[in-house]
Amino acid sequence: MTEFLPVLAVFIPLLGGVLQFLMGPRAVPVWPMVVSGATTVCALALVGSVTNQGDIQHMLGGWEAPLGIPLRVDGLAAVMLLLNNVVGGLVSLYALGAHGRSGAVNSHFWALWLLLWGSLNALFVSGDLFNLYVALELVSLSAIPLVLVAGPRKTVAAALNYLHFALFGSLVYLAGVGLTYAVAGSLDLTLIAGPLAEGGPAGHMAAACLIVGVLIKAAIVPFHIWLPAAHGNAPAAVSAVLSALVVKSCMYLLLRLWTEPLAGITVDAAAQLLGIIGAAAIGYGSVQAFRQERLKLVVAYSTVAQLGYMLLFFPMAVATAWEGAVYHGVAHGVAKAALFLAAGNVLLYVGHDRLRELRGLDRPLALSVFAFALAGVSIMGLPPSGGFIAKWLLLSAALETGQWWWALVLIVGGFLAAAYIFRVLRYAFLNAPGPTIEIEGPVPPRLMSWTALLLGVLSIVLGFTTAPILGLLGGLPGAAP
């Protein structure tokens, strides 16, 4: 039974989304909630069985590699599945409040969201290079229409820009897949490391294409230009998923590719370059976040910055850095979802999210502001929170490898994050004359406030659950235990 779980984790939401499309508005919200629940349960069962019994592999169609496509769930995939489905489940609950009423657009929202959820699961369990390309496309092409749910008029430009980059990035990745196949004759992630390493220029070209393609899709500086508009204008639930999970899935892929198929071919210069790009992303994203005048744009630029931390793994490449990078991914995912959901509640209540006019917000929206603050703690990397543990691990790794300059990047990055998070909180607590909230909208339903808060609390709780999560993750692939 356990070997069927990966398939179910992918196809319960995928089929659920397809059937939602078939049934239309009448099925909202019962059917999507049933599917969300089933998906979460199934995925958590999968994670549980990986925890207990180790890696799971399922050869699709019964064909052995390299002919068939393997589904594999190892520690890294299990951790990402855990993140994806916990955040996904909570976002579904939030969306029940935001998109729970019947209606054509809401029906499409649920269909797309379930499809996206399944696509992300598909990405995490895939063990095949080309299948990962298809999964990447699935993720992008369900994510982009989701942006439009906020109303096409204000999102169409952002969606178009997003599509350009997503499409281009995946074609670059596909070029890498093609070259890899030429050199290795296989697409199975476990079979291509050796041939790629001996592949000469073609091997290097393949590796470069794979990495650059994923970087484009992950919105890493300088390929980030599509991200703020898309993440900043989408509906709150979608922004949360995009920032917490979608770009994260690309970072996951980068970690996976780098440590497994490309392990023999990566050169130190490339690793250092990735680290420098990461540092640039941290600096640029944070400064931009500080300069934004709209709450959701602050959060969106914060994503640009936070993704940079995961790139710091590559130059250090020791077990501590590995754990730090993955843990950062998890912590950021949870915290960023909380931030966007809280921002969504603000938007619902105030009708806009212009920072300067959000004075005294903590009185009507105490729960959401509190959720924002809790998640902010993790984003700043302050204890006790998941973000702090990740920062601690990365700091340790920087000293362990003698590359102390990354430690400086981490410390400065923390300050910059504090600057933009406290700037938002300052306005929320401000009780001084100035532009204030004019039209008070509906108070967000409890469900929406509490899911945001729950995610905020989770991002703090992650500061104490390191041992089980890192135990599930396992050590750096290929390193001596």
């Binding site: 069927f4 398939v7 196809f11 995928l14 089929l15 397809v18 059937l19 499309f21 078939l22 239309g24 399922h58 050869m59 699709l60 169609g61 019964g62 064909w63 390299p66 002919l67 068939g68 496509i69 657009v105 499409h108 269909a111 797309l112 499809l115 399944g118 696509s119 598909a122 080309f130 299948n131 298809v134 999964a135 496309e137 699935l138 092409l141 369900s142 982009i144 229409p145 439009l148 749910v149 096409p152 169409v156 070029a175 070259l179 196949y181 030429a182 050199v183 290795a184 004759g185 296989s186 697409l187 041939p195 592949g199 000469g200 220029p201 073609a202 070209m205």
Partner: protein, 312 residues
């Protein structure tokens, strides 16, 4: 043949260059369509008739019609649809240098790559007997790597939902405008050719099991027939989508998934088929795929929720 190939390659490169650099949008689109056809031609030279068919039908044909229709919207909107200022000379130079470096690197790599002959494809050719179909590409698409194909159908469906969300139909221009520019012959052509095209599509799907063709090519041809009907005014977009149409749209992915899931406990693997049933299952899947693909492509073309027969 070397000369012919070289000439073809040169034409391809030149067309690509022209498509990117030509000032006029219409010419760029036409160049792109011709480029697609030239690519199809070159791919027949590379032992890939299936792909040539697909490229000609989908990549050049269907996409070409879609591009031209969109071009009309752009043209009607007036001249000022360019996005922002043109890039600075510095950007141009950097892009030129970058692309030359990229192209050179690719050319070098493609000439020096030591291809591994012991590969999955060889295995696929050897295992054709177990796949239920004789055509190797169909075998890979529907059996060995059927999971990719299944997910790909998801991509199609998502693109469709996205287009529906946009509510930017192509085919609701006032009919009076259109009739002036279109040939009076068109309705006749449509009447004559549509059944033929439909027949051809069906044949392509069925033939996919043995010879070049298959669900995608067949689906594309079906969509082509639909496009002809739409252009001929026989079929129009509709803001509402009927349950039947939705059912047909998801037929492919549902049949594929449900068969896979139902047989999973029996066969011990998702999308594994019992030996005796392989062929009928393949054909069932293939036809439902073609139908869904065709309809999806057609709806992507009309950009509407649904379809309805238009009054003559």
């Amino acid at each position: 043949m070397m000369v012919f190939d070289s000439l073809l390659a040169l034409i391809i490169a030149a067309l690509a260059w022209r498509c990117v650099t030509v000032r006029d949008l219409f010419q760029a689109i036409v160049t792109f369509i011709v480029l697609g056809l030239m690519l199809a031609l070159s791919w027949t030279r590379l032992d890939a008739p299936d792909l040539a068919l697909a490229e000609a039908g989908i990549g050049a044909g269907l996409l070409g019609v879609l591009l031209l229709s969109t071009w009309r919207v752009v043209r009607d909107a007036g001249p000022d649809q360019g996005e922002g200022p043109p890039p600075s000379p510095w950007v141009r130079t950097a892009a030129a240098v970058g692309s030359i470096a990229l192209g050179t690197a690719f050319a070098v790599v493609l000439h020096t790559v030591e291809v591994d002959s012991d590969r999955a494809g060889g295995l696929a050719l050897e295992s054709l007997g177990e796949a239920g179909v004789e055509q190797p590409v169909t075998a890979v698409l529907l059996n060995f790597r059927s999971y990719d194909t299944l997910l790909e159908l998801g991509v199609l469906l998502m693109a469709l939902i996205g287009a529906v969300l946009l509510r930017s139909p192509l085919i609701h221009r006032p009919a009076a405008e259109d009739t002036g520019t279109e040939s009076p012959l068109l309705p006749v052509l449509v009447t004559v050719f549509t059944p033929l095209v439909l027949l051809m599509g069906t044949f392509l799907v069925w033939a996919g099991a043995h010879s070049p063709g298959g669900a995608f090519q067949g689906g594309a041809v079906l969509a082509g027939a639909g496009v002809m009907l739409v252009l001929g005014g026989r079929l129009g977009g509709d803001a509402q989508v009927s349950l039947l149409l939705r059912a047909l749209l998801i037929l492919g992915v549902s049949v594929f998934t449900v068969i896979g899931l139902l047989l999973m406990p029996l066969e011990g693997a998702f999308m594994a088929y019992p030996e005796g049933l392989v062929y009928p299952l393949m054909v069932t899947i293939e036809f439902s795929l073609a139908l869904s693909i065709g309809l999806t492509l057609l709806l992507l073309f009309t950009g509407t929720n649904g379809l309805r027969g238009a009054p003559a």
